[in-house]
Amino acid sequence: MSILPVTIFFSLSLAVITVSCSSPTSAVKPIEISQTGKSQQTVQIIIKFRNNSDPSKSDFVKELSRDAHAPLFYIRPMSGGAHVFGITGATESTAEILRRLRTRHDIEYVEQDSIMQPAVN
């Protein structure tokens, strides 16, 4: 693991911690894959591919999982041409998984499917 991904990992983790400790009005859902061991929580990510390939095919999902070093599973297509994937039981942090996936040339963008909260105080 390079220094840069670690930096990203910690910065994201800090953001999560900050939000989870503050009011519930503006927080990303505090579900995160632990640094050690497998998390049984499902993290959702959004991937938009550059081509029109069918990302729901099992072979393609396996390929993505191999590149991400995490067990991805296909959830559903989104409006706007992106797709929702789930990750359960990953050993890597979400940030690292996203970093690995961003190295694929067929991915336009990939980001965590963050959870939004009502902005009531």
Binding site: A15, T18, V19, S20, S22, S23, P24, T25, S26, A27, V28, K29, P30, I31, Q40, Q41, T42, Q44, I46, K48, I75, R76, P77, M78, S79, G80, A82, V84, E108, Y109, E111, D113, S114, I115, M116, Q117, P118, A119, V120, N121
Partner: protein, 903 residues
């Protein structure tokens, strides 16, 4: 003010509106006459001033009917006109010794104030001011309206959004839909019932949705409570979620945007008419971005796979939600798509008291991020801030859960599932955002064509400056912290640019067309309208334009001065205090110039020495009616109507013309012509040569009226032979084929029939007659006609003695019939009688006129009982002739009987 006073004032206002013809200019203001306080319309226009002279006695006397004082007062108007720089005229004297004067036109208050200012420079004028139109301010009658400080005018509550002034102009439009992207709503809340259109539940996770299935067509908020057990269950999707009761957050937000209003119940909403589109994206523990952006796109009318199309696309999306992160590609992509679709996205800035750049989707490009202010207009302690904020709105700031400094709206008392419908105070940028969404929907209600950036511009340009010295815990708002200012609904709707639809272009000719404008509305009075046109796209009032008055009525306008066959762009325009707006750019092309007619020339035929026949066929009138057609000819090529020509009337088609007055043996050129509004066109040049010169052609008429010495002849000159026929007549002789060397008559000139007298003939002689005609080329003759004169005259031989009638003892009636005069006039006739046969002239005869025919003779002086012989006679120059003898016997004298009397 008592109700009676209010009613009287309302009536007065209506009278003023009608008298000034403003009923169409301020339609929504008339609706406002049912409610609340009376206020001057902030963007009012007036056509009158009130002037008070220092010497009030004059006006007082004039008002009392003093004609001299009235004349003096009116005379002063001339002075005032000069001082005012505008024509003013008398309207009436008013109470308090004031004088109402009329301005030359409808003026803005600023313009009227300028005129009044000039009048006040007159030392005789105590004061002069605009006769301002007053309007009732629309205040809803909802039970808890008084608790909704967040709607109040800034003169009442510094942090208020100033709704009443906006409601005077619009309370919304049914064509506008506002989406509430939230926890869903409780559609059966008494203050929301009937205020929604069909929404959708986009929460994919069945547990978070709380419905066991995930996505569904039911956007009802089922509650978003999380129990401690759920939060502690590591196998649950709700693991580590904050333990909390149901918020009914979407219901609260929806109530602010559009609760049923002026219904004497609950709270008021900002938009009373437009419908709410509930889009459920937040459930237990919040909502995934992936579900939220699907809900956003769907709300704006964009496609989402697996979800029925939204038949009520929203023009405004309210998103009182967020999280801490950068604006991701997922959010930004959806926001870009939605803005491109024309929908405005309003997002709560977040409640972390931090820079909004860390709150998404408030930090995304293109959204209206909203900070919260408290009752006094200071920044709410929780509100995010920063240069990323676009505008501030009331979000409340509460010291306790029941603190009335929060935002009161629709809610439910259920801590898990829904229970009792209530109204509660909430605080947050979640509460500020729906103020902006609601006001944006009012703006769009006046002008649905505004783009999201235009909506933002209207809201920001009319936002109020932040008050200072608010004493708020986080200090005053500034433009670098809380956006352009505090949203001001009244100012915003008044700043809405007019909307106008360009009417279809009709009546297009080569030089003109008819256009117009319709569907005109605005947040302030329309002070000018018309159409403008140019050969370039998107013409403006700087181009050629019409002026079609003021107000919101539709109009038609004439587009003139155009060039043929040219494409023009036309837009209707409407001007209000917010500027000039334009309808869509319509293009049209003027009709091409009328073409010349097309035609052919018919080759000449029936050619003689002096005439010929030609004509033409007009195959096209060139697009306009023919005004003339015919042929023209000359001895040179390509003759025109400047030469000899015929006129065969208007209309297309074939025609024939006779060409006359030609010279024999000459070549002529002929062309058909046709004229329309564009000009005269010609067919191809056709030439012909007239026949050479020749003697005339003549025929001989049959001879009639033959006597012993004369007869009637004649002839017909059918062709002149190319020169003047003279003389003409009949020649006769006892020899055949008489010539002009014989006896001839002379009977005029030219080509026509003629009659000739043949005289000096001898009786009983056979003659030959021929018509002749002479021109410069010689003499022609008709056919030889022979006839024989009558023989010399004889005594009338054909005479009949008529039977004797009316025989008495001494008289009888006789007569005769002269059938023929024997070739000489009958000069005498009658009957002769005698007791001997063959009585003759010289005996007893009557004389019974002359001539042929029947006659009656009276025979008298006869002897009784005597037989007589009678003959008719007739005499002419040759003697007398007699009819046959007719005998008769006179009667006997009758016997006279004497009757003796009886014995």
């Amino acid at each position: 003010m008592t109700e009676k006073m209010k009613r009287t004032l309302r009536e007065a206002v209506l009278v003023i509106i009608i008298s000034l013809g403003l009923s169409t200019t301020f339609p929504s203001l008339l609706l406002a006459a049912n409610n609340g306080n009376i206020i001057p319309h902030p963007q009012a226009y007036t056509g009158q001033l009130i002037v008070k002279y220092r010497d009030s006695s004059m006006v007082k006397a004039a008002a009392a009917g003093d004609t001299r004082a009235k004349a003096t007062a009116l005379a002063r108007l001339n002075t005032l006109t000069a001082e005012a720089g505008a024509k003013i005229s008398h309207v009436r004297f008013m109470s308090g010794n004031g004088h109402v004067v009329k301005l030359p036109r409808l003026m803005t208050i600023a313009e009227a104030n300028a005129v009044a200012g000039r009048l006040k420079s007159d030392p005789n004028v105590e004061y002069a001011e605009p006769d301002t139109l007053m309007f009732p301010m629309l205040v809803p009658n909802d039970t808890y309206y008084a608790n909704q400080w967040n709607y109040m005018s800034p003169t009442t509550v510094a942090g208020g959004a100033n709704l009443p002034g906006a409601w005077d102009i619009t309370t919304g439009s049914s064509s506008i839909v506002v989406a509430v992207i939230d926890t869903g709503i409780l559609p059966n809340h008494p203050d929301l019932f009937g205020r929604t259109v069909q929404g959708y539940n986009f929460i994919s996770n069945a547990i978070m949705a709380g419905n066991g299935v995930g996505r569904s067509s039911d956007p009802t908020d089922l509650g978003d409570w999380v129990t401690s057990a759920e939060s502690a269950d590591s196998s649950s999707v709700l693991y580590k979620c904050t333990e909390e009761d149901s918020s009914w957050h979407g219901t609260h937000v929806a109530g602010t945007i559009g609760a049923s209003s002026n219904n004497s119940e609950g709270v008021s909403g900002i938009n009373w008419v437009s419908k709410i589109l509930p889009v459920r994206v937040l459930g237990k523990c919040g909502g995934y971005t992936s579900d939220i952006v699907d809900g956003m796109r769907w709300a704006a009318g964009l496609d989402v796979a697996g979800v029925p199309a939204n038949t009520n696309p929203a023009k405004v999306l309210n998103m009182s939600l967020g999280g801490s992160d950068e604006c991701g590609a997922t959010f930004q992509g959806a926001i870009n798509d939605i803005i491109a679709a024309g929908a405005t996205i309003v997002v709560a800035a977040g409640n972390s008291n931090t820079d909004v750049s860390n709150a998404t989707p408030a930090n995304c490009t293109g959204v209206i991020s909203v900070a919260a202010v408290n009752r006094v207009g200071g920044r709410a302690f929780y509100s995010n801030y920063g240069t990323g904020i676009k505008i501030a709105a009331p979000g409340g700031e509460m010291a306790s859960s029941t603190d009335a400094n929060g935002i009161l709206s629709t809610l439910n008392s259920g801590t898990t599932t829904a229970s009792t419908y209530t109204y509660q105070y909430y605080q947050g940028t979640s509460m500020a955002a729906p103020h902006v969404s609601g006001i944006a929907s009012l703006v769009l209600s006046l002008n649905p064509s505004l783009t999201p950036s235009q909506v933002l511009s209207v809201l920001q340009s009319t936002a109020r400056s932040f008050p200072t010295g608010t004493g708020s815990s986080k200090g005053d708002c500034t433009t670098s912290l809380c956006g352009a200012g505090i949203i001001d609904a009244a100012a915003a709707v008044q700043a809405v640019p007019a909307i106008i639809t360009t009417s279809e272009i009709t009546g297009i000719t080569t030089k003109a067309a008819t256009g117009g404008g319709s569907n005109i509305s605005a947040g302030s009075a329309i002070t000018a309208k018309g159409i403008c046109w140019s050969t370039s796209p998107n013409p403006t009032t700087a181009n050629t334009r019409t002026s079609n008055g003021t107000g919101t009525d539709s109009f038609t306008a004439s587009i003139t001065g155009l060039s043929p066959n040219t494409t023009y762009h036309v837009r209707a325009y409407a001007t209000s205090s917010a500027g000039t707006s334009y309808g869509s750019d319509f293009t049209f092309t003027t009709a091409p110039s009328t073409l010349l007619p097309t035609l052919t020339t018919t080759p000449a035929d029936t050619i003689s020495t002096t005439s010929a026949s030609s004509g033409g066929i007009v195959t096209s009138d060139g697009g306009s009616s023919l005004t003339a057609k015919g042929i023209c000819w000359a001895t040179t090529a390509n003759p025109t109507t400047a030469n000899n020509y015929t006129a065969e009337g208007a209309g297309s088609g074939a025609f024939t013309s006779l060409i006359t007055g030609l010279t024999a043996n000459t070549t002529y050129h002929v062309r058909a012509y046709a004229t329309n509004t564009t000009g005269t066109a010609y067919g191809l040049d056709q030439n012909f040569t007239t026949s050479p010169s020749s003697p005339p052609s003549v025929t001989t008429a049959s001879v009639s009226g033959i006597t012993t010495t004369s007869a009637i002849g004649g002839g017909n000159v059918t062709l002149g032979g190319g020169s003047t026929v003279s003389p003409r007549g009949v020649c006769w002789s006892t020899s055949s084929n008489p010539t002009t060397s014989d006896n001839c008559s002379s009977n005029g000139t030219g080509t026509s029939t003629f009659v000739s007298s043949i005289t000096g003939l001898s009786a009983g002689v056979t003659y030959h007659a021929r018509a002749y005609a002479t021109n410069s080329n010689g003499t022609s003759y008709g056919n030889d006609t022979a006839f024989t004169t009558l023989t010399a005259a004889t005594a009338p031989t054909i005479i009949t003695t008529m039977p004797i009638k009316s025989i008495t003892t001494t008289s009888a009636t006789a007569g005769g019939n002269v059938i023929s005069d024997g070739g000489s006039n009958v000069t005498g006739r009658g009957v002769c009688w005698s007791t001997s046969i063959n009585p003759a002239i010289g005996g007893n005869c009557t004389s019974d006129n002359s001539g042929t025919g029947k006659f009656t003779s009276s025979i008298t002086g006869l002897a009784t009982g005597t037989q007589y012989y009678v003959r008719a006679f007739a005499m002419n120059a040759k003697g007398a002739s007699y009819g046959k003898n007719v005998a008769f016997k006179t009667g006997k004298r009758p016997v006279k009987f004497i009757l003796y009397p009886p014995r």
